[in-house]
C-alpha cells in the first residue's frame, strides 16, 4: 500500500514537470542559447573552486578599508561641530547642573555615537553595492561549499550576511529556511555576526590602539573572528542540540548588474536610518542614564567633578574583579554593563565617563593606560561576543516563541566572550605582548 502511495506523490510532481515541458515545447523557441554572457564569464572567476573564497575575503577587506577612508573627512566635520557646540554650551549656561547635563550627558553621550554615522553609512553603501551587483548571492554560494564541510547549511549564510548590518533582520530572514533544525541553528548563531552597532566600539578602540593605518585590518580580523565563531558554534549545536542531516541547498544566482547610484544610496539610507533612530532613542536614553549615575550623588561628586565618588564608579568597582584578569578597569566594566542595551552605548559611556570630546576620546583611552594593543583587541573580541542587544533578544523570543532560547543565547554568549577574550590575552602574553 505505501509503495503505491509513494508513487502517487511522485506522479504529481512528474506530471507537473511533464506539462511544463509540454508547454515550453508549444510556446517557446530558443535560438541563441549558447550566447556567453558577462555573468558566465564573471562567475568562472568568482565561483572558482580555489579563487572563490580568497576573492570573497578580499572584497570584505576592501569594503572595510573603503568605509573608513571615505568617511574620515565627515568624521572630522562632526567632531569639530560637537567641539564648538560643547564650548558654546559651557560659555553660555550658568547653572553647573545644567551645563553638566547638556555638555556631558547630551553632547558627550550622543556626540560620541554620532561620529560613527559616517563609517556606518559608508559600510552600508558598500554592502548595498555588493548586493545590487549580484555578488552577494555568489558569496553565499562560494561559502556554502566551505560551510557544508563544516556542517552548516548554505542557506543560513544569507541571513548571516544580513547580520553584518543588523542581527534583527538576520534572525527574521532565517524564516526562509526549509528545515526547523537549520533555522534554529541560524537563529542561535546569528548574534555572533558582527553587526553595525558594534562597529563604533571597534572604530574607537582600533583607532586608538592600532592607529588609523592598521585599524581597518584589526576590524577585519574581528569580523573574521565572528564568522569563525559562527561556524564553530553552529557545528557544536548540530552535534549536540540539533542532531540530524541538513537539507539540500538551492540558490538562484541572479545575473550581474551594474549597481545604480540611486538605488545604492537609497539602501544605504534605509538601513542607516535605523541606526539614526536608535541613536536618537535607546542610545540617547542610555547616555542620559549613564550621565545621571556618573554625577550623583551630586554633593559627593562635587557637582560631577569627581566621578570616582559616583554611583556608576561604585557599580564599576563592584564589577571590576571580573574584568581585571583581562587588564580592563572599572570604566570598561561599566561600559560593558550598559552596552547590553545596545552596543553603541559602550562608546557613549566612555564619552560620559571620560568627559572628553569625541575626537580625543580614543587618545584619552590610551593616555589613561586603559588599553594596550593586546587588551584592546581582546576587548573588541569581547564586545563582538558578549551579549546580543535587547532588540535581538526580543526578536529571538518572537521567532522561537520561547524564553528558553534567548536565555540560552545570553548565558552561552557571555561565557563564550570570557573564553575567547581569555584565549586572546593568554596567547598574546605568551607571545610577549602586554
Amino acid at each position: 500500500m505505501s509503495e503505491f502511495a509513494e508513487d502517487l506523490s511522485v506522479i504529481l510532481a512528474q506530471k507537473r514537470y511533464e506539462r511544463i515541458s509540454e508547454i515550453m515545447g508549444l510556446a517557446v523557441k530558443k535560438e541563441g542559447e549558447s550566447v556567453r554572457t558577462y555573468t558566465d564569464m564573471l562567475d568562472r572567476v568568482f565561483l572558482n573552486r580555489y579563487l572563490g573564497i580568497p576573492i570573497f575575503l578580499t572584497f570584505l577587506w576592501v569594503m572595510f578599508q573603503f568605509s573608513f577612508t571615505v568617511s574620515e573627512p565627515f568624521v572630522v566635520l562632526i567632531e569639530k561641530t560637537f567641539e564648538i557646540l560643547g564650548s558654546f554650551v559651557e560659555q553660555s549656561i550658568a547653572d553647573p547642573y545644567l551645563v553638566s547635563f547638556v555638555s556631558t550627558g547630551i553632547i558627550g553621550g550622543l556626540g560620541s555615537v554620532l561620529v560613527f554615522v559616517p563609517p556606518i553609512f559608508a559600510l552600508f553603501l558598500a554592502l548595498s553595492i555588493l548586493e545590487d551587483s549580484g555578488y552577494m548571492a555568489r558569496a553565499a554560494f562560494v561559502m556554502d561549499r566551505f560551510m557544508y564541510r563544516l556542517g552548516l547549511h548554505g542557506r543560513s549564510f544569507i541571513p548571516l550576511m544580513i547580520g553584518f548590518g543588523c542581527n534583527v533582520p538576520a534572525i527574521m530572514a532565517a524564516r526562509s529556511m526549509d528545515s526547523e533544525k537549520d533555522r534554529m541553528i541560524t537563529i542561535l548563531v546569528s548574534p555572533l555576526m558582527s553587526c553595525s552597532a558594534r562597529l563604533p566600539v571597534y572604530v574607537l578602540i582600533a583607532g586608538a590602539v592600532f592607529g588609523s593605518a592598521h585599524a581597518g585590518t584589526a576590524i577585519f580580523f574581528i569580523y573574521a573572528l565572528g564568522i569563525v565563531l559562527v561556524i564553530l558554534v553552529a557545528q557544536l549545536l548540530r552535534k549536540t542540540l540539533f542532531k540530524g542531516e541538513q537539507s539540500p541547498f538551492v540558490l538562484e544566482l541572479p545575473t550581474y548588474a551594474m549597481p545604480k547610484a540611486g538605488s545604492a544610496l537609497l539602501h544605504m539610507w534605509m538601513r542607516g536610518k535605523m541606526f539614526l533612530k536608535k541613536a536618537g532613542t535607546i542610545i540617547f536614553g542610555a547616555a542620559i542614564l549613564v550621565w545621571f549615575l556618573s554625577v550623583h550623588p551630586w554633593e559627593a561628586t562635587a557637582g560631577g567633578q569627581l566621578i570616582a565618588e559616583s554611583y556608576i564608579a561604585w557599580m564599576g568597582h563592584a564589577l571590576e574583579p571580573l574584568f581585571k584578569p583581562f587588564g580592563w578597569d572599572w570604566m570598561t566594566a561599566v561600559a560593558l554593563l550598559f552596552g547590553i542595551v545596545a552596543k553603541e552605548v559602550v562608546v557613549g559611556t566612555y564619552g560620559v565617563l571620560l568627559g572628553v570630546d569625541e575626537g580625543t576620546l580614543g587618545e584619552s583611552l590610551v593616555a589613561n593606560g586603559m588599553f594596550t594593543p593586546l587588551t584592546g583587541f581582546a576587548f573588541m573580541a569581547f564586545v563582538l561576543v558578549y551579549v546580543p542587544c535587547f532588540a535581538v533578544l526580543a526578536t529571538i523570543v518572537r521567532e522561537t516563541n520561547s524564553f528558553r532560547w534567548p536565555a540560552f543565547v545570553l548565558v552561552f554568549q557571555v561565557a563564550l566572550a570570557f573564553l575567547v577574550s581569555g584565549v586572546i590575552i593568554v596567547l598574546g602574553r605568551l607571545m610577549g605582548m602586554s
Binding site: I20, M24, A27, I158, A173, R175, E252, P254
Partner: protein, 246 residues
Amino acid sequence: MSSTKGITESITAALIGNPNVGKTEIFNRLTGLSQRVGNFPGVTVEKKAGKFTHQGRVVDVVDLPGTYSLTAKALDELVARDFIVEEKPDVVVDIVDGTSLERNLYLTFLLMELDANLVVALNRWDMVKARKIDVDLDRLSELLGAPIVTTVATTGEGMAELKSAIIKASQLERKQKAALDYGDEVEAGIKSISSIINEKRDLFGKYPQRWLAIKLIERDERVLDMAKSILSGPQMTRIAEVIGHE
C-alpha cells in the same frame, strides 16, 4: 468564485514569484514606495503593502515572499499560500523570469491549483529578446489560462499594461480553470479523497477541495493536521488507504 467588484470598491492584488525575478522592483514600480531591493530570501518575508490608482480604480498591492513552491515546510511559503487562500486577493500576479520560464512555471501551476485569479507578468522581457528566446505569448496565455503581460522591472516597461491587466482580471468573473490532468491513477486518488473531504466540507474553510486532496496525497504537514482535527478516525483511515500509511 469571487463576484464582480463594483467600481467604487478597491481591488486587492498579491504579487508572488520565485526569488530573484524582480518582484520587489515591480512592487516598487507599481506602488511607488521605496523599499529595500535585494537578493536575500528573507527580505520579503514581512508582508509589504502599497497601493496605486489606475483608470480611476484603487488597487491595494501586497508583496508576498519569493518562493519556489508552496509547501508547508518553509515559513515564507506558508505565509504566501495562507494569504492567497484566506485573504482571497482579487488578483494574484505571478511574476515570472522570462529567461528561466521552465523553472518558474512550477509555481504558476501551484497557484492555478490554489484557484488564484492569475495574471502572469513575464519579467526580464528585454533579456528574453536579447537572448533570442521566442515566446508565443498568445499560445502561452491560452495554455496557462491566464493573461500575460511582458515587463522590464528595471526600466518600468510594461507597468501601465500590468496595472490595466490587474484591473481587467479583477472585473472578470473567475472562471473554473482547466485543471492539470494528473493521470488516471492520481485522479482516482484525488476523487476518492475529495469525496471524503466533502463529507465535512464546511469545516475545511476556504481551501479548494481539489487542492486539499492533492496536498493530502503529498502529505503536506499542515493539511494533514487540519484533516486529522476535522475528520473522524474511520475517515482518516480511508484517506490513509489512498495516500498510504506514514
